[in-house]
């Protein structure tokens, strides 16, 4: 993305000034190099989001923002219902179960030198079902599927797929009060059946080294 038309608010904050039908400005949080690498479609889509009724403050884009459907992926917006705010089902695409999880191995980079690195990658691939055509070891009956949908992450812990401490690291402890399995169609449940216990078809497992941690506050 060309930064010439952006207003730099601070080192990591870039403003797309209001123009045309935009009700609020667009704001991108990213380093200069990341903004330069962003597709022009991010700007276009952010401007579209900024034009939606009821939008509050600004249409925001996170550092990983990229071309989505209506919003850019990595787009954030709040809408005020009292100001005619909209509800967008397709705001950030349809991967509503998408998530990112960091698992800390405790290993040092020195312990992952040479062939160990390759062996670790092969083991992760062998042990974690991911990709098209791969299924998990978990096959739920209709009753168990409903219990899983109602209980969320607590259900998984109850089945032995985690520890109680894990729940403390998940938003809302991985469960929403009032979850109603009857509101999920039989078709959707059938589609989920063979994907239980897998990482899905297009997921990535990355091994990353943590160099340092920073707090913005």
């Amino acid at each position: 993305m060309d930064t010439a038309e952006l207003k730099r608010r601070s080192e990591y904050e870039w403003e797309i000034p209001r123009s045309g039908g935009m009700r609020v400005p667009g704001v991108i949080f990213a380093a200069h190099e990341l903004v330069l690498a962003m597709d022009e479609k991010v700007r276009e889509q952010l401007q579209n989001v900024a034009s939606l009724p009821g939008i509050v403050e600004a249409a925001y884009a996170m550092p990983d923002a990229h071309w989505g459907y209506g919003f850019p992926i990595g787009g954030v917006a709040a809408f005020d219902a009292d100001e005619g705010g909209v509800v967008s089902a397709g705001g950030v695409g349809f991967d509503i179960s998408c998530g990112v999880r960091t698992l800390h191995t405790g290993l040092k980079i020195e312990q992952l030198q040479g062939s160990v690195r390759r062996q670790l990658a092969d083991q992760l691939y062998a042990r974690i079902p991911a990709g098209v055509g791969r299924t998990g070891a978990l096959h739920l009956s209709a009753k168990a599927m409903d219990a899983m949908l109602r209980g969320g992450a607590a259900w998984a812990v109850g089945e032995g797929y985690g520890t109680a401490a894990d729940l403390g690291r998940i938003e809302s402890a991985g469960r929403i009060d009032g979850a109603d399995p009857d509101a999920v169609s039989e078709q959707a449940k059938k589609r989920q059946r063979d994907e239980m216990g897998t990482l899905g078809s297009v997921s990535l497992i990355e091994k990353n080294r943590v160099r340092n941690c920073q707090s913005l506050r």
Partner: protein, 154 residues
């Protein structure tokens, strides 16, 4: 003559089918959908599945059609390579028909042919998870041919 292709989208992929009739264009879009996963020529037409969709206009019908295929692919673990499609209603093909075919519900009836996914042989590159309204277009060209396209979530 039916033709198909994919077109780029940064996060996902677009599928497009063109043909002399609306049904051919829909069959082409379905072939392009298979091509997102693997080479359609590698998929042998061993078994068939019947699919029926209804929608108030052509574009919604395309999304429903592709989503019906994606559902069958996901739940039966099948890939499809041949599509016998018939579309009725909605004044489709009529010069007097409204731009989107609105007016009468469209019904698509299809028999699709394919085989179970074989990871070693088909080398699936991605899974199509759903058809979207992004870049959704079903239109007739000046020469009377049809093209149908949308972006699918992968």
């Amino acid at each position: 003559m039916m033709s198909w292709q994919t077109f780029p989208h940064e996060a996902d992929v677009g599928v497009r089918g063109c043909g002399a009739t609306l049904a051919e264009a829909f069959a082409g879009a379905a072939t392009a959908l298979t091509s997102v996963v693997c080479a359609p020529a590698e998929v042998v037409a061993r078994e068939s599945v019947a699919i029926t969709c209804r929608a108030p206009d052509r574009e919604l019908l395309l999304v429903d059609w592709l989503n019906a295929l994606i559902y069958e692919m996901a739940t039966r673990h099948l890939l499809f390579s041949r599509f016998e499609v018939a579309i009725a209603g909605g004044e489709q093909g009529s010069e007097q028909g409204s731009e989107q075919g609105i007016g009468r519900e469209l019904t698509l009836k299809a028999t699709v042919f394919g085989e179970a996914i074989d990871v070693a042989r088909h080398q699936p590159a991605a899974e199509a998870k759903g058809a979207s309204f992004c870049e959704l277009r079903v239109a007739r060209a000046d020469d009377g041919s049809w093209c149908a396209q949308c972006v699918v979530d992968v």
